[in-house]
Symmetry: C2
Subunit: 120 residues, 2 copies
């Protein structure tokens, strides 16, 4: 049957909160989606792919994603530095969950208005 049978509210929340934290923030998901499908992208390619993000944020998020084992870094020992990023196996396995979440989001009945003031 299930690999995890039953959780108390607190227990289940802990596990998921951890997961959500890894995806939290304004950029994680964007980065991840650009990497889905096993794509291998350079730092500069990601920068170009996500113009709105600052270098600082890109690196910061990349680092966290890497530390969380979701993405991996390939450093080429070259004169002009070349670093490539790609999803780990585990990172790729995030896709179904995200897809479920997207499906859920699309089921939303009546989105009155966004209420996160920060998005302005």
């Amino acid at each position: 049957m299930g690999k995890h049978e039953h959780h108390t509210p607190a227990t289940a929340a802990s596990g998921i909160e951890e997961a959500i934290q890894m995806l939290e923030g304004r950029w994680k998901l964007v980065i991840l989606f650009h990497l889905f499908g096993g794509k291998l992208l350079r730092f500069s390619e990601l920068e170009r792919a996500i113009p709105a993000i600052s270098q600082k944020m890109l690196i910061q998020q990349l680092r966290q994603l890497e530390q969380d084992g979701i993405i991996a870094r390939i450093v080429h020992a070259q004169v002009p530095p070349k670093v490539e990023y790609h999803l780990t196996e585990w990172g790729q396995s995030l896709c179904p969950a995200l897809d479920e979440l997207l499906t859920w989001a699309e089921k939303r009945p009546a989105p009155k208005r966004a209420r996160r003031p920060s998005s302005a």
Copy 2:
């Protein structure tokens, strides 16, 4: 098969980011889990169930969840105020997605260390 075939990175991210935003924060998920299963809880019951949260945060998160259509409020016109919270249909339908996410989280290979507090 899929109800939504393909998304560009940016497109898919937009949809999911919206979803994630609704669940973001330290308390949303905790609250939600306490409500899963169609439970009907009073404000004070939630307070007791989540001792670590402040009234302000509890109400704030509750309001956002309500505004996002994930939970609903029942106000009883009584002398000692009585307000109950419960998940909406849509809110309940979040469960599978969260479960997927939890499953993913549990597949994590080697959780070296938490990296949030920049304690490293």
